[in-house]
Symmetry: C2
Amino acid sequence: MNILVTGGAGFLGARLIEALLSPDAHDLLPPGGRIVSADLAACPIIDPRVESRTGDIADPAFLASLIDADTHLIYHLAAIVSGQAEADFDLGLRINFDATRALLEHCRQAGRAPRFIFASSLAVFGGPLPEQVPESLSPLPQSSYGAQKAMAELLINDYSRKGFVDARVCRLPTISVRPGKPNAAASSFASGILREPLAGQASNCPVPLDTRLWLSSPGTVIANLIHAARLEAEALGQRRTLNLPGISVRVSEMLDSLARVGGEAARQRVSHEPDERIQRIVCSWPGDFDITRSRELGFTADQDFDAVIRAHQRDMSR
Amino acid sequence: MNILVTGGAGFLGARLIEALLSPDAHDLLPPGGRIVSADLAACPIIDPRVESRTGDIADPAFLASLIDADTHLIYHLAAIVSGQAEADFDLGLRINFDATRALLEHCRQAGRAPRFIFASSLAVFGGPLPEQVPESLSPLPQSSYGAQKAMAELLINDYSRKGFVDARVCRLPTISVRPGKPNAAASSFASGILREPLAGQASNCPVPLDTRLWLSSPGTVIANLIHAARLEAEALGQRRTLNLPGISVRVSEMLDSLARVGGEAARQRVSHEPDERIQRIVCSWPGDFDITRSRELGFTADQDFDAVIRAHQRDMSR
């Protein structure tokens, strides 16, 4: 009974592995079970049940070594983020689509139809958008990242329909507050404008203050990814792609929360220099979703953005 | 000024080439221009302006030989049909997706951003469907053919957004009445139950008589494919995928038309033996669409199904 986590050295992957190792998750990782982390870097979680494998998931030999007949659950988180995939079209396609396809094909060959949980993104949406995105809205990506994720979603759904895997595709909200350093994601600022000021550093907001974002804290995203693995296939039926719950918050409201929870001095550390490249991607994304279905299926959202900042502060003081 | 037609030996491709050769299409094929037909078989249209190339579009060397800096318009019609793609998953993926991707990549390398017209299909839709499919409905394919077409649509849209091609993705209705023999498409019966009885032969209807189909005659589809090449990019904006007009007709109404136009004896040649494999695919498809946008863009539909049958009779007597 093994679990594979691609992107296991990343912030989200490592935190997911921690959660899978906790006693609460013994149904997913029973005694004797093992977690394989696959990433370019070593998994930071040191535990006898975690096997850290370093390599490029676009490398067929590396990928082939990750899955065997004991792999019953796969979290596929590894990806080229939005800003980088826009700048390097070929790299994005190779990792975000081709590697996903190769992983699915190995699952098919292993013949065990593992649960296959894919981290997709609200970036599949774009173009003219309704106020609130319904369950049935067609993806219309305005970035190569979004297009590659949407293509992977379709392929995963078809592999699932054919019985090669048992899929749950989770379209994640923008995650805030991510710890660590800024990254090449176009949404990097959605963490930076909180994280840096709270740590006494300056940060810039590159989008208009009335931009509405669809957000989730890291803890809520992890809880939802764990929940996805526990859902029975019958509850999902043909529709294996889910818009995960989030909260709809304007950037100005995020900064108000920062002042309330982190103090006015922290708020003053945020500058506001527009960046057209980032705006073009981020402002094409929806800021609100109808989440009736994912709520009914038991997925959760944060209470409000003040709670999100407090959760970050708790994480930092651990 | 060259035009490439993949699938140029097929029924639709050959008829499209005929239309492109006519004086009405001199704006698309100016004097000195040439049409390259690429298919497994030779193009049946004999004309000094048509160069018939036979080969497998999944073969990189063959594909590379089809496009050059003079190629300003591409019709990509070659595909593995629905029934065959469902039976042979790998072949469907290789032709319907991988070959499309390779073709796009050659366009990118040639650097001319040709108009790229892709024959997609209503088979991208499935699952729970509204009475009438709106422009914004998400694909939810219930066949590998539909999934592969939907993936190709996304990739084409992204290549177009990046400026590598200038795309128009046409989701074709089910075509009726196709001439010739039954094929491996799940929708083959939608022509067979007219064509065979009108030629004095028996035919079987494998789906319930109240099944609603979204139909277009071959002549109307060809006119719409030609129109797609003439549309200016500005008229399409970000949304390069179009649900082409059709008429919404129940199978029972098709058979009533057959009796009216072809006579009661023709109607009596149609038997009704259900086929679960065909039903599973065909009955997952929508039978009606909101076509406000494609109508506004100048695409057309047949008047009614009696007119569709009469058009077939005219074609047969040419």
